[in-house]
């Protein structure tokens, strides 16, 4: 063995690791925000009267969920420029992660929509709301509260998925960890600190989500 732990090299670049963690969180937040809109649209499309929209939405979900995220990331980064769509690496990754999140959130929202009693929409129509108003003011708020725990789990896994951004050199936590690893060869320390940072962040997010879950829960 003869390996002596020396965290000095890692502490020296700790602010880099922290900024990487921040970028990862920011990427996850932006992606889940855009993904929620995509997911809402696709979930309503799945319950739509028109077979065409149902098919489009279900193909979108099936295709994205069964393709590895890394393939999607590389595809967006290397192929889109061939069609004249030039995005920076951060933008390209955000777009990919949002589309990826949208597919998973569609399933979440679809399940939550199915769980709502039909009476809600009917009661809304009965008091004179239009279909849209009933959706916006009654269905969606209640559905979101029911879907919140699943939404939180998806957010945590999205945050972990931001580590893949390192594959296209987006400077987030994993990217800096690899850089420090290569520059200093403090292998054990680097990966220990990096994975502990992920674990701690996930733990804090989970604790925060549980807090909001209690606040948002529909009282019975």
């Amino acid at each position: 063995m003869g390996y002596h732990l020396n965290f000095g090299a890692v502490w020296r670049d700790f602010d880099l690791l922290l900024s990487g963690l921040g970028l990862g969180l920011a990427l996850a937040i932006v992606s889940i925000f855009i993904g929620c809109w995509i997911g809402l649209a696709a979930a309503f499309a799945m319950n739509s009267k028109h077979a065409f929209w149902r098919r489009v939405a279900s193909w979108y979900v099936t295709a994205i969920r069964n393709t590895p995220l890394l393939v999607l990331i590389l595809f967006a980064f290397f192929v889109l420029p061939r069609f004249g769509i030039r995005l920076g690496k951060v933008e390209s990754f955000t777009v990919t992660l949002s589309i990826y999140a949208g597919a998973y959130l569609t399933e979440v929202f679809r399940g939550a929509l199915l769980a709502l009693p039909r009476g809600l929409r009917e009661a809304g129509l009965a008091i004179g709301l239009t279909e849209w108003q009933a959706k916006v003011w009654i269905i969606i708020p209640i559905m979101l509260r029911n879907a919140f725990p699943a939404l939180g789990n998806n957010f945590i896994s999205l945050f972990k998925d931001t580590s893949l951004a390192a594959a296209i050199a987006v400077p987030e936590l994993t990217y800096y960890a690899r850089q420090i690893n290569v520059n200093t060869f403090r292998v054990v320390e680097t990966w220990m600190v990096a994975s502990l940072m992920y674990v701690a962040a996930c733990y804090l997010i989970a604790a925060g989500l549980r807090f909001f879950e209690r606040r948002l829960a529909i009282p019975r």
């Binding site: 099936t62 069964n66 393709t67 590895p68 290397f78 061939r82 054990v188 990096a194």
Partner: protein, 221 residues
């Protein structure tokens, strides 16, 4: 046989490389699922029936691994294991990370399934005089496995997708082979699409087969 310069020709030239990459992907995913499931069953049983100390250790293991991205697990096991004196090839190091990842998912899944069974099941089995191993084999396991099946199939598709991460540490699986081919002929759209399609077909097949098995083993209602 196929005209040179066409797209079909490019696919034809790379057929053996792609098949070889596909073979590695299938092999590594299969090994990860099988070994990870065995380890995961052990993890799940420890989480439910372990004594306090061992349960605590296993819980720490599961929480730590599940809080870390798979990509970090793969990189860490590739760089770290050799550093502490365990010499592994990239393939073995990647496989190790995937097995660890898979075991925590299977373990949590099994724990959830076992704990969701009503207590009355165990009590009734005790009342008719079964020993614990008998209770487990004849009463708990059949019900728990049925309940854990959908999530297990999901984990299996997840492993196929996670195997792409091994391309980063230089395991020549489907994605790395695809990237090598693209760096030769620059047909990024066509070959990434092909790789994506192959992964999709594998996962779609697993999902479909899983649904079929679920229907077969479902309790008649």
């Amino acid at each position: 046989m196929v005209e040179q310069g066409t797209l079909l020709y490019e696919f034809w030239v790379s057929r053996w490389a792609i098949l070889q990459g596909l073979g590695t992907t299938v092999l590594v995913s299969l090994l990860a699922i099988v070994l990870g499931t065995f380890l995961g069953i052990f993890v799940g049983l420890m989480l439910v029936y372990g004594r306090f100390a061992s349960r605590f250790v296993v819980r720490m293991y599961v929480d730590f691994v599940r809080g870390t991205p798979v990509f970090v697990l793969v990189l860490a096991s590739f760089y770290l294991l050799s550093q502490i004196g365990i010499q592994l090839t990239a393939f073995q190091a990647g496989l190790f990370a995937l097995v660890v990842f898979c075991s925590t998912h299977v373990g949590e899944n099994l724990r959830g399934a076992l704990q969701s069974l009503p207590r009355g099941q165990t009590e009734a089995a005790k009342a008719i005089g079964l020993t614990f191993p008998q209770i487990f084999v004849y009463v708990l396991a059949p019900q728990a496995l049925r309940q854990a099946l959908p999530a297990w199939i999901n984990t299996a598709t997840e492993m196929v997708k996670a195997s792409t991460l091994l391309s980063v540490i230089g395991v020549a699986e489907l994605l790395l082979v695809t990237r090598q081919i693209i760096s030769r002929n620059f047909l990024s759209l066509e070959f990434y699409f092909l790789a994506g399609l192959i992964y999709f077909l594998i996962d779609y097949a697993i999902e479909r087969a899983g649904k079929a098995v679920e229907r077969r083993v479902a309790l008649p209602s």
